[in-house]
């Protein structure tokens, strides 16, 4: 149990035949209430998939009674027929659950530009509705996987209420392959304004700081559903903190399962003039293919870190930067510091610290190395 651990939720995951692999491919999550409060963040990509276009309309009402998710096709750039497939999915769920279609969020993941088989989709949704249960969380988490090697789930408990979650993919605003989809459930009593504010705060410092390969998806969705079934109304700060913990946990699971990665890289940018500066520098480093190849090769090539920092507008003196790999300060004041050969990059976890010496703000960005396996997996995805 995870998304079904909070009271008021049922879920299922079934095989509709959308995936060539024959693995499960449709997940359904239902909020039985009493509250239907929901919040969501979507991809900022302007080329949005049909399910995102639909779900943005749903979320205008700040509530959702169900979410149906399919793998096996992103339903993006599939034209009016694709949008009709999304709409038909929501209608089918609504009919089966006796709710309104406008309360049904839809998520899709898979290849762009391929039409989903509507018969398989609708038959699968009917089966998913039949199999809904309060123990269905793990099956739902399995059904949304694409290139994930394992399902991602989380549970965080507080006094009388809890938060569950599931995720697939490898990045937010920068996922490898098609998409990051996240569904988070809670039985806390939370109003719509609080839910929205808490979700934006939590994603800002977790999923938004995960940059696996710099590529932004057309389908990214993070959905928070609040049943209120516990009868407990937590303080906003407490709720936000636990939600952030749950998002952090899922983000780290995504990082650890990124395509082909051999290293999980944590980039701490410290003593920045502003948090935005720290994020900008961290992301510039996280997007340097040269840096990411160097980590794959276990090479503490700090010059590539400085070259990336130099592409940003962040406040710092280029001649004053310090850089550490796993605590070894290989660059001090823009000059060679401790010997490179003191750095050991044989472990999966790699920590980079960049000291901008320009203020007191900081931020952490997570990324992966660039490997042969990444190239292999992404050169052979649709063929």
């Amino acid at each position: 149990m995870t998304i079904t651990a909070p009271q008021g939720f049922r879920a299922s995951g079934i095989t509709a035949g959308l995936k060539a692999s024959g693995k499960s491919d449709i997940a359904l999550v239902v909020n039985d209430g009493p509250s239907a409060v929901a919040a969501a963040v979507f991809t900022t990509n302007r080329c949005k998939a049909n399910p995102v276009l639909w779900s943005e309309q749903v979320m205008a009402g700040h509530k959702a009674s169900a979410v149906v998710l399919n793998s096996g096709g992103a339903n993006c750039y599939t034209g009016p027929e694709g949008f009709q497939n999304t709409h038909a999915s929501a209608e089918k769920v609504a009919e089966l659950l006796a709710i309104g279609a406008i309360d049904v969020v839809v998520c899709s993941t898979g290849l762009i530009g391929e039409q989903l088989d509507r018969d398989k989709l609708l038959t699968g949704i009917a089966q998913a509705a039949n199999e809904l249960s309060d123990a269905g969380g793990p099956a739902a988490a399995e059904a949304i996987m694409t290139t994930d090697t394992r399902s991602k789930q989380v549970l965080r408990e507080s006094a009388g209420w809890c938060i569950g979650g599931m995720a697939k993919g490898a990045g937010m605003l920068a996922p490898a392959l098609a998409t990051m989809l996240v569904v988070i459930t809670t039985d806390a009593q939370v109003d719509a304004v609080t839910a929205d504010r808490a979700l934006r705060q939590a994603t800002r410092v977790t999923f938004d700081r995960l940059d696996s390969d710099g590529c932004m998806s057309t389908n990214d969705t993070v959905l928070l559903m609040c049943s209120g079934a516990s009868g407990v109304t937590p303080e906003e700060g407490e709720f936000t903190a636990l939600l952030t913990e749950a998002c952090h946990d899922l983000a780290q699971q995504l990082l650890g399962d990124a395509e082909g990665a051999e290293h999980d890289i944590t980039i701490d940018v410290v003593n920045a003039a502003s948090e935005d500066d720290a994020v900008e520098v961290g992301k510039a480093i996280a997007r340097s293919n040269l840096f990411k190849c160097a980590v794959f090769g276990k090479d503490p090539n700090w010059g590539r870190i400085l070259a990336s920092a130099g592409t940003t507008r962040a406040a710092f003196d280029p001649g004053a930067l310090d850089v550490a790999f796993n605590g070894v300060w290989v660059c001090r004041d823009g000059e060679p510091g401790e010997p490179r050969d003191k750095v050991d990059l044989s472990e999966r976890a790699v920590n980079i610290t960049v000291d901008l010496k320009a203020g007191t703000e900081s931020a952490t960005i997570w990324t992966n190395d660039l490997t042969h396996a990444y190239v292999h997996e992404n050169s052979a995805y649709s063929t």
Copy 2:
């Protein structure tokens, strides 16, 4: 002959022992005049190498009588001692040629953060001065190579005057490995203002539109030296056109020798509202690792192109885009168009056309695919 093809230039390339490989590593190019007019563009990276910091001062006077270039070390993030090495190089050239040090441009390429051996550097410069000849262009072009598999040279001739050039690296504002260095010579009579304007115009549509791996170097330099020895003063438009041709030729040579690449990709963005929009969309596509992996895998994955376009601020309707691979319009009006299997990506040259349907402007961006060989080469560079 190439950079020594124009009248008034001598050059040499020698082995100073800066490279572990034992290959030649110092190039010297001298402009014997009568004019010493020069123009240059440098990396926009804020973390600039010592030779760039020095050469920017030289170019403040809009003239240069010589340029000395070394491979075997970028002389970047090497502190005051590194700057002194650059300064000593210029002083040594000045002493040997009886010119001012402030008329000597210095370029370096190689690993960041490693100190050059000053004795080898200065001894090598003396040898390079001894070997200067009007047939020394090819030797100079050899001496600036790092991971290049072949030297890059160009010659363009007009009525009574000509332009020669040499280059190393694989990108401008986005080179693979350390740096792109380009030296262009001409015996045309060109004033400083014209030289500067022509060089900026030529690089803007050639080197600036080459984006091999999205990584901006600390050392990039393009230097134009004008001897005036032909006695011919071409029209500015004619000069700019021939200079642009020479830059285009060198840029294509850089593209064709990019690290580990198996495909040269030309991205034509057409019918944009502005040239800037076309460039922004083209560069976003060129920087998508997912797209670049797909081309390596000979997969016409147009969804990755649209997902990249969607990250830009360019004016277009996401539902109206057309995309072609080698002339096959696999996406029409944001929907699947001609069948993917009509696309053949077995040849090295791949042409992508993206029709924004938002205006009449266009731009072409060049990039490469992302391959196993790229990962291999860049994970093993400094170790």
